[in-house]
């Protein structure tokens, strides 16, 4: 039987290697390998982060177990550590922030993309992007020197006299507390919502607007029933970006939340958040159990962000499928 020889004069078994070297010379394989290394680095760093948090929190995890999440006591002196007040503070302040920032941000985005002149829209969008880039310590200063006094003197007394029947608006007005932190966070995340939602709204195809207009829809009907529904996936994305930022925000929250590990229904009361307690107490964490508990809090924050982002992805995916965007 004749051995098959191809045009290069090599037997077939040698060809793949040769082709590989040729491609390597042309850069294809180099690009492939290099980008693969970069991509793996990203995954590696994330994995390392989780691994370190897991290992270093071992002491606390073994001592408290699941009770860590249900314990309200945070007593470094007595060696009792529970995450509940911090979880509560983080979730409550983020919820206040989104409650205020979503309508404000979405309304601004709709105005900028649909109603205002293009020049004004572009100028304002630039300012909004600038706001997103302001360091959070500046927002913290704003919170301490402007928001907190304003809340203490005006807003909280008025809320208490008008809505005092609700448990959220009772108790002494301190200024600093859940409400101040939530408000500061709201101001910080509005730019994210505006910036992303505006882009998404602007990129809704002209055909979609015209389809609604040609059916006799008014301008507002076109916006509310064709443009916004078309953009809702992207708008949800901007909301979750804002949520991620609010959950993890450290500096500004630390400055205005009051730093008191207590759970109170009143939004006027001071509280504490996960990120704030880590930042505040890390340097003074004497004893390995204290340190380990703080690291476990870090792990909890990481998981919280991870789970919420995962849920967000699922939600976006589900709405996209219902709207048929993926079919």
């Amino acid at each position: 039987m004749l051995e098959r020889v191809n045009a290069t004069g090599l037997t077939p078994s040698f060809r793949p290697l040769r082709i590989y070297w040729e491609r390597l010379r042309r850069g294809d394989e180099i690009a492939h390998v290099l980008t693969l290394i970069f991509a793996s680095t990203v995954i590696g760093v994330t994995a390392l982060l989780v691994y370190q948090l897991w290992i270093q929190s071992a002491l606390s995890r073994q001592k408290f177990g699941w009770a860590f999440f249900a314990t309200r006591v945070w007593d470094p002196v007595g060696g009792q550590f529970g995450a509940l007040p911090f979880l509560y503070g983080t979730v409550v302040t983020s919820a206040i922030a989104l409650l205020l920032a979503v309508p404000l941000g979405l309304g601004t985005a709709i105005f900028l993309s649909e109603f205002s002149a293009k020049r004004i829209s572009d100028a304002l969008a630039f300012l909004v992007d600038l706001l997103a880039a302001v360091p959070s310590v500046i927002y913290g200063l704003l919170g301490i020197f402007v928001l907190a006094p304003l809340l203490r003197v005006w807003v909280e007394p008025v809320l208490r006299s008008q809505f005092g029947f609700l448990p959220f608006f009772r108790g002494p007005a301190y200024g600093v507390g859940f409400l101040a932190a939530g408000l500061t966070l709201a101001i910080m995340v509005v730019p994210f919502i505006v910036s992303v939602s505006r882009e998404v709204l602007i990129s809704v195809p002209r055909e979609q607007r015209e389809a609604a207009l040609a059916l006799g829809a008014t301008r507002w009907e076109t916006i509310s029933r064709a443009v916004v529904p078309f953009a809702k996936t992207g708008i949800l994305g901007s909301v979750f970006l804002a949520l991620a930022r609010a959950l993890g925000e450290t500096m500004a929250v630390t400055m205005v939340i009051g730093n008191d590990p207590k759970i109170s229904a009143s939004l006027f009361a001071p509280g504490y958040s996960i990120a704030a307690v880590i930042a505040n107490e890390f340097t003074e964490a004497t004893g390995s159990l204290y340190l380990s508990a703080l690291i476990e809090l870090g792990l909890v924050l990481f998981l919280l962000t991870f789970v919420l982002n995962g849920l967000a992805r699922l939600l976006v995916l589900a709405t996209a499928q219902r709207g048929g965007l993926l079919e």
Partner: protein
């Protein structure tokens, strides 16, 4: 019955002047069809660029009128002025007069005008909603919330889509093929019972079989509404329309019964265009 036969049916054709001095006469069956749109001296410009330089034309009720001409001749602009969709583009100026049943469209409430004059676009543009919700959209914004399902079925039947989608009304419109999506858009426009249906190159993104279906559909629809179709496909104009207007560089060159325009055009430019010498 194809487009030309409506003219054949009326043997007592008489020459009628359509309004502009330099436009050739048109054979029309007098008394059998009435004008729906009367357009005089229509000028449209985008910014400093004028794209229509004064067009006079009457669109007749319950026939299919085709607008043909090379790209950029202003035929789409002309179509879009009929329901004032030109105003959607910033910086557009419209001059002249358009009468819809003797009512000036520029003095009408634009929302009401568009409910009377529906439109179908070049690319199928269903909303990212279910088939049912797409068709019901126009009804809902008009405040109709009762017997929606009958109205939706009726519109889908008129658009010859009912049999293909009846079991899956709550599936996404995006799951349909391109031709089905375009017929869905026609059904959506028909749902609000427009007097006029404007179609802007509705078949340019579709294959020949689907195109034939839509042409067949136009033929069935003209008994209940007036149809104006922009097309860059001359065969389509010849097959599907009763009247054809030929536009060139923002001017109306010739407006005739379709049969006459394609067999014995009066203007040498029309002849050059339909025989494929330019455009």
């Amino acid at each position: 019955m194809n487009g030309a036969s409506i003219v054949q049916k009326h043997q007592n054709l008489e020459p009628v002047h359509l309004g502009q001095k330099d436009i050739p006469l048109v054979e029309l069956p007098i008394g059998t069809i009435k004008p729906q749109f009367k357009i005089s001296n229509l000028k449209v410009s985008y910014g400093a660029k004028e794209v229509l330089h004064g067009v006079d034309l009457d669109v007749f009720a319950n026939v299919v009128t085709a607008l043909i001409g090379p790209s950029g001749c202003g035929k789409s602009t002309f179509l879009r002025s009929l329901n004032r969709m030109t105003e959607v583009v910033r910086g557009t100026q419209v001059e002249g007069e358009i009468l819809l049943d003797n009512e000036n469209v520029f003095r009408m409430d634009v929302v009401k005008l568009r409910r009377r004059v529906g439109m179908v676009f070049q690319r199928p543009n269903p909303f990212p909603k279910s088939i049912f919700d797409n068709v019901a959209y126009g009804l809902r914004i008009n405040g109709h919330h009762d017997s929606l399902s009958e109205a939706v079925e009726h519109s889908l039947r008129r658009a010859a889509l009912w049999d293909e989608v009846k079991g899956q009304l709550h599936k996404s419109a995006y799951a349909l093929s391109g031709g089905q999506q375009q017929r869905l858009c026609i059904a959506r426009a028909l749902a609000v019972n427009p007097e006029v249906l404007l179609l802007d190159e509705p078949c340019s993104a579709l294959d020949p079989i689907t195109t034939a279906k839509i042409e067949e559909l136009l033929f069935q629809l003209k008994s209940s509404c007036t149809i104006v179709i922009v097309t860059h496909n001359m065969q389509q104009a010849a097959r599907a329309s009763d009247f054809t207007a030929f536009l060139l560089d923002g001017q109306l060159v010739e407006y005739q019964s379709t049969r006459k325009l394609f067999t014995t055009p009066s203007d040498p430019r029309t002849e050059a265009y339909i025989t494929g010498r330019f455009g």
